[in-house]
Structures are given as C-alpha cells and as structure tokens.
C-alpha cells in the first residue's frame, strides 16, 4: 500500500464487509421508503420497498458469513449484546428480516397492500421501520466501537451511514419503480425527497472528512481518502457517482432511463463510501519515551528468484 497508513491501517475488512454494510443500509432504507409509501397510499412503491428491503439485507448477511473465518460458530454471534455491536446488530437485523418477511408474505407479495384492514399492516410496517432504522444506524456504531480507529469513532459516522442508507434505499426503490412502471409523478416525488437526503449526506460527509483532517490522529486517514490511494474511489465513486450525478438528475426532474442510470450510479457511490471508510480505518502509531514507532515498509524482495520453483 503506497500510503502513510502502511502497517497502521486495518487490512482485514475489505469488499465483503463493505458490501454487507452497504446492503444492510440500502435494504433498511428501501424498507422505510416502502413503509412510508404505504402510509401515503402509494401501493406499488410500498410493495417494491417492502419486497426489496429484507432480500438486500439477507444478501448482505451472506457476504458477512462468507467473510467469517469459522462459519460453523456463526450461531454464537448473538451471545454478547451487552458490549458487542456485532451481537446487538445480529439481533436487530434478525428481527428486521423476520418482521419484513412477515410484511411481505402477508400483504406485499399477495398484492393486498391496497385493500383490507390497514391497521395490522401499518403496525407491522412501523415495527419493521424501527428495526430498519436500527439496521441503518448500527453499522456506523459497530465501526465506532473499534476504539483504536479514531477515523471510525465519531458520532458523525452513524449519521453519515444513515443518510447514505436512506438515500441509496430511495434510489433502489426509484430504480425498481422505473422498471415496474410506477407513475412519473410518484417517482418525481421520491426523487425530490432524495435531493434532501443527498444534500444532507453531502454536508455530513464534508463535516466528517473535515473533522478527520483537522485532528492529528485522523489526518492520515483523511488524506488517504482525499488524496491518497483511496482518492479515485472517493472522488469518482462517492462524490461524482454517489452524490453529484443523482443530485443533478433528481433536481432536473429527469425520469425514465436517466433516473434509472442515476440510481445505479448512486448505489455504486454508496458502496464506495463504505469501502473508503473501511480503507481509512487505521491506528495511530505507538509512542514511548518521546519516540514514535511507525511501521516501516520492507524493501522489495532482494532475491526474487527465491520465490520461484525450479523448472521441472
């Protein structure tokens, strides 16, 4: 890694965890969008949101399981909710998926979101929305509990992840809505809601990176993201694809294919955001007796031939 974070940055949580964080957030956001749409009487959008939410989270969980070193023990992960955010998150996500699944098979899938007694559906919807909110926020809290990583232990991170999750959730619903033939006016209303979410997300992101840049312990992490090896993914992925293009498309009121493309780019941006935050997670060096101990990059292998097998 050509970075000042060499030897200090964490290297264990990479794409699989980034995909999990992203899908958990977007799935929760899609679900809340669906529940809100249900209260507004937009039955197609509500169905889309409810049916999208928990499968996204489920796929994310499969990625998480794929990252584990010893999957056989995975049933144990809920054992320490008093101190571990992984344990708490497992409980929150499990309850969310169960409630959302119930919502789906009772009302969304059979197509009965429109008629019938709305009370039970609304109650289940609100419960699901509460746990969806928990799913969207807990990923940031989980990273924040890793005390040695000052880049992650800030209250701005769960807030940032929440708005990114909300925005990507709405965009996922818009994307599916374009293909499901939802009316233009409804999609435009969703797009206008997304504008607010994107603007808030951008402000929180700016505050987060600015704060990281100013504090000596996190400056290197901020530089890694803004101008270091993660810069391309940050500026192209998070800023341009994830924030700028969707914002412009939503503001101009473009619909149809344009909205679909903007949503896809927005979703990619959300994934990139999780990845760069993970990539920037680093400890600050240890110091003792007035000396800092920064890991040094090893010189390139002086005898590369040693690594090759003899010709057979």
């Amino acid at each position: 890694m050509d970075s000042k974070l060499f030897g200090l940055a964490q290297t264990e949580w990479r794409w699989l965890i980034a995909i999990y964080l992203f899908l958990a957030g977007a799935g929760g956001g899609a679900h809340i969008t669906g529940v809100a749409a249900d209260f507004m009487g937009w039955t197609t959008v509500a169905t889309i949101g409810i049916c999208l939410g928990w499968p996204c989270v489920l796929i994310g969980c499969l990625c998480l399981l794929a990252d584990l070193g010893t999957v056989q023990n995975a049933w144990r992960v809920a054992r320490k909710p008093d101190t571990s955010w992984i344990a708490r998150g497992t409980i929150i996500i499990s309850i969310f998926m169960i409630v959302a699944f119930i919502h789906t098979i009772l009302w969304a899938w059979p197509g009965t979101m429109a008629g019938g007694d709305a009370t039970a559906r609304h109650v289940v919807g609100v419960i699901g929305a509460v746990f969806a909110f928990g799913t969207m926020v807990y990923t940031g809290l989980l990273l924040g509990d890793a005390i040695p990583m000052p880049f992650w232990s800030t209250a701005l991170l769960p807030i940032l992840f929440f708005f990114s999750a909300a925005s990507t959730g709405v965009m996922a619903v818009i994307l599916a809505g374009v293909f499901a033939g939802v009316e233009e006016s409804t999609l435009l209303t969703l797009a206008r809601a997304d504008i607010v979410l994107i603007v808030v997300e951008a402000l929180v992101l700016a505050a987060y990176l600015h704060g990281s840049y100013r504090h000596p312990n996190t400056r290197m992490s901020a530089e890694h993201v803004l101008s270091g090896p993660a810069a391309t993914m940050f500026w192209m992925g998070v800023v341009i694809c994830g924030l700028l293009i969707p914002l412009v498309i939503d503001a101009l009121g473009i619909h149809g294919t344009g909205a679909a493309i903007a949503s896809i780019l927005g979703l990619i941006g959300g994934l990139c955001l999780r990845y760069v935050v993970l990539a920037g997670g680093a400890m600050y060096p240890m110091s003792a007796a007035g000396t800092d101990f920064r890991p040094v990059r090893r010189p390139k292998d002086p005898m590369p031939a040693m690594g090759k097998l003899p010709p057979s």
Partner: protein, 208 residues
Amino acid sequence: MASYGMVIDLNRCYGCYACMLACKVANHTPPNVFWSRVLKGESGTFPNVVRQSLPVLCFHCEDPGCVKVCPTQATYIGDDGVVVIDKDKCVGCKYCLMGCPYGARYTVPEWKSYFPEGLPLSELEEFQKKAWEEKSGCGVATKCDFCTSRREEGKEPSCVVACPANARIFGDLDDPDSEVSIRIKTDKGFVLKPEQGTKPKVYYTPPR
C-alpha cells in the same frame, strides 16, 4: 488469584529481536504472525538522535478492547489475568483485530509455509503445521497467551527467557513484593496508549 503482567526495560533493550524469534519458535506462528514483535523508532535531530527499540506483545489488558467487542465470548480474561481465546467459540469475524490498539491479534485464514509454495513440506514444517492447528487454529483470532503451557510447567514465557539483556521481567502484579511490582514503582513504569482506557498489564521503564 494472580494477575500476570510484565515490565520491559527500555534502557536494556537493544533491539536484537531474540524475543520475537523465541516466540515464533515456541508457538510455531506462520508467516506474518508476530505474537511478540519489536518496533524501531527514531527521535531527535542531528546530532542528538536516538534510535529506540520497542518490544510489543499482547498486553493482557485489564479492560481489553478485544474482549469488549467479541460477539461470541470467545476471548475473555482468565482467572490469572491472562487474556485467552477459546478457538472453539471464535467465529473469525476479526472485530477483535479492530479492537486492539496495539495490533496484538492476528488471524490465519490458511496455514502457509515460509518456503515457496509447491515444495513438499519438511518434517519440521509438518510438525509446525499440526502444532499450530491444534493450539491456535486457522480462521480464528490468535495472540500471545504468556506461554500458558510453559507456565504450567513452572517456567516463564519464552520471550522473557530468551532476552539476552534481561530486559523483560514477568510476574504477578497483584503481589507487591514481586519484581514486576517493585520495578514499576521504582523505575516509573508507564504503559502505551493509556488514553485508550485499556489498562495494559505490560509496563515499560524509560531509557535513561
């Protein structure tokens, strides 16, 4: 019960890496896994430059960042103050690797030899692979355990015994008459990253 800790005398340590290698030999750690390692740092400006060595290992903290975040209770503080990992409970989520401010925890997804891949394993490597998989395991978190098997035989950890400068002292911090306790008091022992609140039990005494 006891509360084991250590004192490392930075005035004596000259960075020979004997402790790091003794640990590797005793615990059969695969490549890139360093339960005990030595960091080097420089300070000062020419001509008053100091090069300091800093041996680090798992500090067996009293309020460990790793135990706090472990979701399965696989890692916990034993009765003797030694933080251990129950590899049968560990799920390999690597949250504890993120939770340790000192980089003391490692995970080995797959055992690797020090020699190029494709070569048949020597007898020693077969033994080391088996010993590693039995004691620590692949796909789980691993770290220094203050050489539990040696302590059961009444010996001190390998790194302590191997140090040619006698810079490492191991003992019971609960015992005010043990050498560790005395040295921490008389030589003004300090810990690393105290602001993280982990309360490490390995102290350093400053170079004079």
